[in-house]
């Protein structure tokens, strides 16, 4: 049996802990560079603001509806998430942190009234940390996720589901008829793993509600759709098919991409930017003990602004799989120089490391050409240690330019970011006395 604990409108809730005056007002949190809405308060949802709505399209609501928009403060959200996850772990013996605001808890062996237990933990997270959450409990992870959706919807839209399912929804204790009613009141697109395309196909085939989906024959689903959907159907029927991932699997590719604060037209800052992205990606690569065999660099103009369009990417094959910052930065800069054309206002660039292999696997080969063979893994280790201890970017490749003191031309635009309330002494909130 599983529970899913999920913070309500998480980023907005984090901001409200330190700015209670935002309670009751429509609030959105904007993505990097204040591009689009990535979190919305219930009031903002009620105004019809969609997830991912571009800022310039909803901007006028600042004046017409008192909308408050904030730049994402991931430092703050990370710390609040940590507090929340640590308390959520009290629900059961195992935990999988699934995203910044969601975590699955394994409930095997937990005795007593699980619904009550859920309410106690929910209240504790709300009181101690300040974040409201929803908790869903089910026999499988898919059902727990569905239960979580019901818990949140029942609270936000009274009347959509029985009110006793609000905040904490335990599907395992519902009588069979009530369970069927709840599943029949939920559309298939709310099911974990059912994407927009599959949902459209299901609707076409007359499968509209979760109950319809759960009543399909798994073997037929497998023949007509896929093994993945068959697994989802079995999970909905209460048969666990997706285990708790205690340790996330190594990523198959690593990306570091960012939109620029202001458009860039010159080559040097673009090279600096992708060098920085390659360094960041290299750090992530070493953290999971992998090597990369190919590096992709891309760069494009804004799809929203007028003017000539540019959208290119280059894959740079690496001589040997590597996790060496120097080599990856060189490859990223070479790729950028290769595809650069003057006269375009670039809005975003990024680096992706592809074809990752474990550091323990090395292809042996003959020495056919001269190359720097020195093993620099200890140097990389030292750099990572220094950057962990003294802060990001303490030691960095000179190609990335700038320093923490001189802001870089391509730096992020975060005009509306709140202070780092919990991680920097200069930023702690002020109380009047």
């Amino acid at each position: 049996m599983y529970a899913l604990v999920d913070g309500n409108n998480f980023y907005v809730s984090c901001e409200r802990v330190f700015r209670p005056s935002l309670n009751g007002r429509p609030v959105v949190v904007l993505s990097n560079n204040d591009g689009c809405a990535i979190a919305r308060s219930n009031e903002a949802k009620a105004l019809g603001i969609k997830m991912g709505a571009p800022w310039f399209q909803i901007r006028q609501m600042e004046e017409t509806h008192g909308l408050v928009a904030l730049s994402a403060n991931f430092t703050l959200y990370g710390d609040m998430s940590d507090r929340m996850m640590s308390l959520a772990a009290g629900l059961g013996p195992t935990q999988e942190v699934y995203s910044i605001d969601e975590s699955f808890i394994g409930l095997q062996g937990v005795r007593g009234d699980l619904t009550r237990r859920g309410h106690v933990i929910r209240e504790r997270i709300h009181q101690w940390v300040g974040i409201p959450c929803g908790i869903g409990i089910g026999h499988t992870k898919t059902l727990a996720k569905l239960a979580n959706h019901i818990a949140k919807t029942a609270e936000r839209k009274p009347g959509s589901y029985p009110s006793e399912l609000a905040q904490v929804c335990n599907l395992t204790t519902l009588p069979a008829q009530d369970l069927d009613d709840v599943l029949a009141a939920t559309q298939v697109e709310e099911v974990w793993g059912v994407g927009r395309r599959i949902a459209a196909q299901l609707h076409e085939g007359g499968v509209h509600t979760v109950l319809d989906l759960a009543r399909l024959d798994p073997a037929t689903v497998r023949r007509r759709w896929s093994v993945v959907l068959e697994r989802t159907v079995r999970e909905l029927q209460g048969m666990p098919c997706i285990a708790l991932d205690d340790a996330p699997a190594p990523k198959k590719e690593i990306a570091c991409t960012r939109a620029f604060g202001t458009a860039i037209t010159d080559l040097p800052p673009l090279v600096e930017a992708v060098s920085e992205f390659a360094s960041r990606a290299a750090e992530k690569l070493r953290k999971q003990n992998s090597l990369s065999s190919q590096l992709l660099v891309f760069c494009h103009t804004s799809p929203f602004r007028p003017g000539p369009r540019f959208n290119k990417s280059v894959v740079v094959p690496l001589r040997r799989p590597t996790a060496d910052t120097g080599k990856l930065v060189w490859a990223a800069a070479a790729g950028m120089r290769r595809m650069y054309e003057p006269g375009y206002r670039m809005a975003k660039a990024g680096v992706m490391l592809l074809d990752l292999v474990p550091a323990s696997v090395q292809q042996g080969e003959l020495d056919l050409e001269d190359e720097d063979h020195r093993d620099r893994s200890r140097l990389m280790e030292a750099i990572d240690t220094l950057n962990t201890r003294y802060g990001k970017g303490t030691v960095h490749s000179a190609a990335t330019g700038g320093s923490s003191k001189a802001p870089r031309e391509w730096g992020m635009k975060q005009e509306r970011r709140t202070p780092y309330y919990t991680t920097r002494w200069e930023d702690v909130p002020i109380a009047r006395a």
């Binding site: 309670n23 940390v129 919990t422 009047r432």
Partner: protein
């Protein structure tokens, strides 16, 4: 509602709170006689142990103003606010009044609630009819730095 103040559910250990990485003893000795101090390895005192009782619920705030002078809270003090502590009559709290956060004594007697300053020049804050006082958290301690170099 469910009472979580005295709930029997244990709070999990917070792995995020780390002590300073400074071992007191335990210097490695390559050869020869083992250090007699090795059997007495202990953790050096850490002020966080005194200040922080519930790591997940503890936040630091900075104080601006002199209304709590007689309680030992000066302008510029850092206060340790614990949201897991139950607000009781007589304790110092961070409270929300009209969306503003203020530090005051909580007065809670005979069904009446008000906020009291620790400075006679400040009047009590008594909620008017439509006004609510919400306690954000209980002040557990106060940190003052006297010399900076």
């Amino acid at each position: 509602m469910y009472s979580f103040w005295n709930s029997p559910l244990p709070v999990p250990y917070d792995a995020a709170v780390q002590a300073l990485a400074l071992p007191v003893c335990g210097v490695s000795v390559r050869a020869g006689f083992p250090s007699p101090a090795d059997d007495f390895v202990v953790e050096r005192l850490d002020i966080m142990q005194l200040l922080v009782k519930h790591p997940q619920a503890t936040y630091f705030w900075k104080v601006r103003g002199d209304s709590m002078l007689n309680a030992g809270i000066d302008d510029g003090s850092i206060i340790v606010v614990d949201r897991a502590l139950r607000p009781k009559h007589g304790c110092i709290v961070v409270a929300l009044v009209d969306g503003e956060c203020t530090v005051k004594y909580l007065y809670q007697r005979a069904g009446r609630i008000k906020l009291r300053a620790a400075n006679p020049t400040y009047p009590d804050i008594v909620p008017r009819d439509s006004q609510t006082i919400e306690v954000w958290g209980v002040v557990r301690g106060c940190v003052k730095i006297f010399a900076t170099s």
